[in-house]
Amino acid sequence: MKIMLPYAGIILLIGPSNSGKSTLLKQLVDTGQVLSSEIISSDEYRVRVSDVEFIDWSHRWKDVSESLYDEYQRISAEAFSLMEATIEARCRLNKITFVDATHLYPDDRKRYIELAKKHHVAVMSLVLDVDEEVLLSRDKNRINPRGKKRIKQQYQVFKREKRFIKKEGYSATYFITDTDEVEVTRANSNPVHLEVDNGIDIIGDIHGCYDEMIQLLEQLGYEKNAQELYVHPDGRKFLSLGDIMSRGPESLKTMLFFLRHVKENQAYMVDSNHASKIARWLEGNNVTLNHGDELVAQEFEQYEHTNELAQLKEQLKEFLLNAPSHYVLTKNGIPTLVCTHAGIKDEFIGKQSDVISDYCRYGDHEGLDDTGRPIRKDWTIHHKTSLLVVWGHDPKPKSLIINNTINIDQGVVFGGELTAFRYPEKKFVAVQAKEDYSKGQYNPLIELKKKRLDPPNIAKFNDGFSVLTGELGKVKISKQYALASIDSVSHHTIPIEEVVYIPPTMSPTPTTSSLEGYLEHPKEAIDYYRNMGIERMVAQKKHMGSRGILFLFKDTKAGRKYVGRETLGVIYTRTGRRFFDIETEEKVLERINQSLAGSDYFNKYRTEFILLDAEIMPWNLKAKELISSQYAHVAENAILDRSKLKGKIGNAVENNVDLARWLKEYDEKLTNAFVFKEVFQKYCWEIYEIDQIQIAPFHLLAHSHETYFHKPHTWHMEMNKEFALMDNLFVETEYMVIDDEASEEKVIKWWNDMTGDGHEGIVIKPETFISKSNGRLIQPAIKVRGRKYLHIIYGMDYLEPENLKRLKKRNVGKKQKHALKEFALGVEGIERLVNGESIERVHECVLGTLAMESDPVDPRL
């Protein structure tokens, strides 16, 4: 007798004592077909909890017998509750469990059927059907005979129950009369597991867009062979996330394509909402075909080969009904990725049940909206495991990475894209739809676009939140700082939809200079990068002004498209506030727009906007009040104080030689005060007209269709040169490449000369924009400020040996952490912006950086 075991679940053995349950299991263990840990036996659990397997309460005094019986019941109760807990745990872990007990009464069996259902695993019964005489004779020979009376009683119950067992709802029931004849077959691996092997290309919702699908497969490298099958030379396979039909032009053709490729082992497909509806229709059920399913029926009607139709329908029905709810991709047997149509719960992964199938088809939803569409809930927020979940169903303008899940339904049928996610490469390949097949009907992509600028939902932020960044994973923002940044956004910043990026903070050198008389020196920055394995670096002059972000539009129409108002752009500070007053901003924007348009910039790069990260000078543009009331004020006080004291001590020194020490000290202090006064004026000049403003961009962050984080800093510097050539409001930034000892020396000399002249210093960056060391993100930039400049940061006397010694103990740990997180948030936000995601998703990153900045760090770093 051959028994097919499910991959996981509960195998209930049923039969009276002595029917051979344990013998059968022992035999399976001995032949290596079953692990002993897969068997849970009530006898064993009785021993485990009470040290005894059996208590014979017959042939005793009545009171003794009753007491023994009670004890046996208590032991059994404890043993069964422990057993059940163990079985439940094994079900959760998707394991198979043989339950070795008599299970003679329906209630005993029902418990396990429910348990299996609750945990979405199979439940199967093996009924040991043995004659009464055999049972009785075996009982005589066992060590603890159960007694004739009990065996007889059990057999009566068994006989009565036997005919009902089949109908109790097992996935299979086997009646075994001879245990010797039993052979089991079991799956070595989970049927929904798929080994990645040479790679799998996961494809989003196709919806009958056959041509786009073929185009995508060809782009992925699949070639049509002699049997008209699309196969990959490297042995890759493709996997559809379902909804290959409905809405679009060629559902039938697409279904037949998959039917063949799946059969021929070249492709896979998971179940989906449209597929299940079509399957039920093919089964002959009474279903209302709508939301594009009616087009599938039409295609069947118009199908040419009418004689094949019935057979075709049968095959397709089987194919669709057999599609698993989801697949789990494995690397050497280890699960790493889940493919599902609409969503999945973590506890469903690797299991199969009707409930799971339904969830995977529709995702999490609650009720219907005014137009009868399901209100989709965000199932991804509950996803906690490390498995990456790839899903479709809910069209997004660009592949959306959220909470360790990736949506790759880019609505090809709505005129969007058909996306493939290549695994294990984790690369996206997409083809553009030839047209919008929705033909003016409800189009989710257009609906999303309309809603793009809707105000963000405050509920997402005001309890604290975390942002999933591509570069650094989850960045957590605590409630305290989230609230502070919402406060700031509500009062001070420019509109939420316009502040699309906040530049990250930057750390100074990780360690202070080993040289005497220097707090910072390029050496430490270069060493930091060399230790991280970075050989090529770019050193850029650090301008001293105020940080400014320029979000510039091609024309006011582009402004309306991207920020919802007709504007040529916006220029804002690193805290998200408007940089200039409105009139000056307008003048600057108009001037830049004319120059760029004059150079045909927007057409040349086919972009509707430019996002620039820049330093805007002079310093006094933003900081005049601060300079006057703080820096100048300090200088005046210091010079007044120190010159008076120097004078007084100087006059008295001839009468008291001890004063010479103080005189020298005050002479130096006065010099320091003059340096201080000289330094801050270096960054200031009078502004009479906008021509005197200088804008030094150092990153071209994005154009409307592309971000530029993949470009090296040398490219960014060259682009900046281009800007400087187009308009003299833009100034070029000098830079040098460090790639060997000689260039390092050159940069250090350059830094020394420049800072000796009072310039702020340089910034050293790895040549690539996003740099990692051993897979970990490293500081994207390190500033090295000059000796003179630091007078206005650390105080005019900071170079006095005693002071410097203490300052060299500074710690940049927190600053560096912030710098990394803010960098990751910045990159993420701009990616989202360029991908056309909602402003809520962009704002999440912006708010994150603003929140990090409300967490105080030593402002001198």
Binding site: G564, R642, Q681
Partner: protein, 460 residues
Amino acid sequence: MFILRWQVLNAMQLTIRGTGPDVNMLSYLMAKNPNNLYERNVSGHLVRLFFGKFSEEEVEVTIFVTPDSIELSRNNSQTYEITSYINDREFAVSSIFCTLIRTALGTALNGKPKEEYEAWVNHRFPLQFSFGPVASHLSDHELLDLFQPLGYEVLITYGEVDYSMDLKSKSIARYITIKGMTTLQMGLRQLFVLIPVLDNYKHYYIDEKEVEKIERYGEGWLDQHPQRELILQQALRFEELYKMVHVKTERHSEIVAEPTMRLNDLRYEMIIRKINQLTHRERIVDLGSGEGRLSEKLGFVEGVKEILAVEPSESQSLKALKRLEKVERNENFVMPKQIMGSLFYYDERLKNKDIMILCEVIEHIDEFRLPKIMETILNDYRPRVLLITTPNREYNEVYKMDEEYRHPDHRFEWTREEFSRWCQMQNRHQEYELTFDGIGEEHELYGKPTQMALFTRKEV
């Protein structure tokens, strides 16, 4: 670069110069040997004293502090947040100076020299005290008013402002010299009271000891000083402390009725009156509830079951909480629920309420941002009634105002016509009935100072 708040880190110096017979006694009164340099480390700062001149007829002694600048700025950056509400991040050294040099000048201040010189304690010398730099918000005139009544001649000199660009015309770093016949103890005591008065902010928390100190040092001159009020107020920054020495003196008994205050009350009154006329007034939202003045009044409206006070600012919300807690136990008061929220976000908690109020809120928002907010309110939140108040710009004529707005943060102020037109535009789906009203004293030409619009949802 970062906006880094900088603090004045300079020491102050005080030079005492005396001329005339027996002036050398000053060194005994101070208990300082004129031949030695005095140098003490007080919490990392160096307090130093030397005699620049010393003869029978001429003595010049300078006491100064060389502060530990690193320590000062480090402490400041750490305590940045905590002290910001009493100390505008600026570090005025004049009061710290007095604290630091008090020990060095203790003998002179207390008038306790060695017994044989005690007679000189009350001896008046022709003395000159020079000190600076003074970083004070007081004008030169106010400085003169502090020292001249004490019989001093006052001379003020300034720091240099020779900058490469036009930063300022005059330095506020000043060096002050006062001259007069006085005893050393009196002169110093006066300085120890008055130097902290010059100080914009004090660096330490002021407690009762300060009161005692002022009473001691001020003995014999402060009560007669015409600027006594100002001196006490400045020296004892906190009101509670100020009251302790102030009980005897009467304050201005007459409170000048400010028109804006009255208008506020009228506004609230009008809003409450309007609400009382509405059938549905169970659930009310006060958008931009600020310090909770209106929310408090809403809590007493009959029939109200829920009030949401929506405000993004934490500091305002804390003030509101204090205000509301005071009345929380009143009978018939519905405690408003404070919500951290903002008009620039979507907030599902605000949906489908009976009444939403924007009381003097819209004029604080850039005009171009308002349509989006109104869209969210009228189409997503969909209250039965939306009530908006905003200044009537025409009325500014009555206040004799020119082009300026009533509040520096106002982004606009509208005429009645502008407001009405704007409201019509926001109601483009025609789902609301609009009525207008005014609040405050009516002018026949310019109307009332505040205008109000009531959006009432048309019954379907």
